[in-house]
Amino acid sequence: MSSVAVKKGLGASVWEYLTTVDHKKIAHLYLGTGGFFFLLGGIEALFIRIQLMKPNNNFVSEQLFNEIMTMHGTTMIFLAAMPILFAFMNAVVPIQIGARDVAFPFLNALGFWLFFFGGVFLNLSWFLGGAPDAGWTSYASLSLRSEGHGIDFYTLGLQISGFGTLISGINFLATIINMRAPGMSFMRMPLFTWTTFIASALILLAFPPLTIGVFLLMFDRLFGSNFFDVTMGGNTIIWEHFFWIFGHPEVYILVLPAFGIFSEIIPTFSRKRLFGYSSMVFATVLIGFLGFMVWAHHMFTTGLGNVANAIFAIATMAIAVPTGIKIFNWLLTMWGGSIKITVPMLYALGFIPSFVIGGVTGVMQAVAPLDYQLHDTYFIVAHFHYVIIGGVVFGILAATHFYWPKMFGTKLSEKMGYVTFTLFFIGFHCTFFIQHFLGLMGMPRRVATFLPGQGLELGNLISSIGAILMAVAVIILLFNVVITSIRNKKVGADPWEDGRTMEWAIASPPPFYNFKQTPLVRGLDTWWLEKMEGKKELTPAEPLGDIHMPNNSIIPFFISLGLFVAAFGAMYNPLNSVGDGKSWGLPVLIIGLGITFGSMLIRSLRDDFGYHIHKEDLLEDDKGGKVG
């Protein structure tokens, strides 16, 4: 490793990102790719709202509308929200616990590339016969009959991405359990690390049922099995159960990290420690556990019976309690604090009422008899957009501003951030508040159009105008990103000045080895503690020594590419239900799997012990020379 700064060309940078196993660079990859898919999902949303701007509109055909509506949901949840949250987990969690990387850097890269190729595969459907059109929930009866390969793109693409997510979940669990710095007990971990931990446990336990459900649908459509075919003894409700046993924990996988982000932002900009730390941890664990016990509230109208409906209704209401505990703790953190209204804090302030509105409509829906009225109407659409946008998207936008300096070394413009927030906040409420009433008036969801003269015109128009406001807000955010990158004004380690946790104690962005010496953790809000005692740096827990780092590798890219190739083979195999099987289907499937397993074998057969950064180079780094 050279200890002199080397100006890298574009080719070298691209290769670096293709082969990196560094969690900070992987965070950039997740943020960029997830951000791209967020824009794609946003355009799909805009098209939905343009089509529904007036009754009997023909902006898009019914079939195309179904595809756009399906892809909007699937993209936003699987390809935008989850990856962007992974970006922040990758960027922040290892540093928050005082580690130099995650437990399995190679698998971290593999998790990203699997997500990447799964997302690309899913979106290729647009060009190869049509996107999936059975909703993001792809219920088996409808999705089995979907003509064309759209649903196959859905099953195969999500399966590939899903493997990536599962691998990353295990990675973060092992990292947080095994690699905390000395002195960091579980009850001294920052809240974002706690929520990452619980969300990762949910990923570990909730993704396998989805994996099985999607395999069953894949086998029925591509290999002639009969899981969901009633005429052959099958049962379509099996799909619903698997989907929602996964799907309900999934929304907690999305929202818990967002809660964690707000639990960092609110104390920082109230200059006051988080109120009720222990109860916040307990509430997070309880939400995680209860999240697995409520899934059939998505199935109240399928005929499960009164006993089952009652059990799930009560469990669903119960889950509001720990969430309420968290809301009160955030409010009490702010009470008596010295509040600074930065852009992240603005999103936090916007999050609290918005998420609570979404939460209370959720409790309404938990009442099974009322759900018979509300199910499949716009009321449900309003509810989940309130919790997802009010919770997850606000969290993501807040974290983008809050962690941008730590990830890129520059700071996004606060002024532009205020404009984005204001437009987005107004647009969001414009679009979705009115949808509660559209639903109560009986407008069904997932409809490509509606009839005039039923009182639905004004509500839909207002809803669509809100979407345009949100689009403008996002464009301004993009502009902010571009301008900030061009200006390239560097900031220091603690640019918000009130950082409480260890990521704010090291440079922005951190050196590739994170910590020269593993820090000693002397209490909660470790960096704040050191600052209050007048220290300029974290207390080290070890003497300066050689640092062991992992090597880069192109193999994760190829393992993922192999599955991408195999997916095409599976989709066009001679047994598929669409009937356009090709003779090259099976060979391509085998070749693709061969690339994957062959790459895994190459990885296993070669020795890879990583490399060492020598003590002398670290000392030189201190004096201003660049390491590596």
Partner: protein, 209 residues
């Protein structure tokens, strides 16, 4: 601690698989993976139980018509024995007896291969004698997916252990590969755990009705 260092039986650590950070991570990561696999197989069992004997008409065979208990008993004995042989292998690993460890793993692989051979025979028998194929009915799809996924896991496990044996034949035992052997044997035990439930829930309960 340098993972490539050579040891003697005297100074070989007590728990070589968790002496390095890498080893500790592999150990924990693998148990977490097994927790995920537990839910995965539970989902397959749930599907099988929901679709057991669910056929379109009476011309299709049911569980009690199909399953051959003596064959399943033989398969169970073979797989269970392969589990104890892998325990022996890790015992020798802990005592730093590389060649003995390798030998017991080879026996494990041979027993595993025997299990697979019997299972392949079983499946072909169902296809030819009863026309009980993957696509026959919901029951058959569920059966082959559950038992077939287990068989695929056995196959992968065999490839894994063989790769370890081949790769390390000249290297001997060290702290870099000790965790790999340990984790492979955990996987092999887990496969037996799943099989215990398969022979009970699928075959024994299938016969009882």
């Amino acid at each position: 601690m340098n993972a490539e260092e050579r040891y003697t039986p005297l100074n070989w650590p007590d728990h070589p698989e968790t002496q390095t950070l890498e080893g500790k991570n592999k150990f924990l990561g693998f148990w977490l993976f097994l927790a995920g696999e537990t839910v995965l197989f539970a989902s397959l069992f749930a599907t099988y139980l929901a679709l057991k004997d669910s056929v379109p008409d009476s011309s299709h065979p049911l569980a009690k018509d199909l399953f051959n208990l003596p064959l399943v008993f033989a398969m169970t004995m073979i797989l269970l024995t392969s589990s104890i042989t892998s325990v022996y292998a890790i015992y020798h690993m802990r005592n730093y007896h590389f060649k003995k460890m390798q030998a017991w793993f080879v026996i494990t692989v041979l027993l595993g291969a025997g299990f697979l051979a019997l299972e392949i025979y079983e499946f072909t028998h169902y296809v030819h004698e009863y026309h009980f194929t993957f696509g026959s009915s919901a029951f058959s799809s569920a059966y082959y997916t559950l038992v077939g996924t287990h068989g695929a896991h056995v196959t992968f496990g065999l490839c894994w252990i063989i790769a370890l044996l081949v790769r390390n034949a000249k290297r001997g035992l060290n702290l870099y590969n000790a965790p790999k052997y340990y984790v492979a044997s955990l996987y092999w035990h887990f496969i037996d755990v799943v099989w215990v439930f398969i022979f009970t829930v699928v075959y024994l309960i299938g016969k009882v009705g």
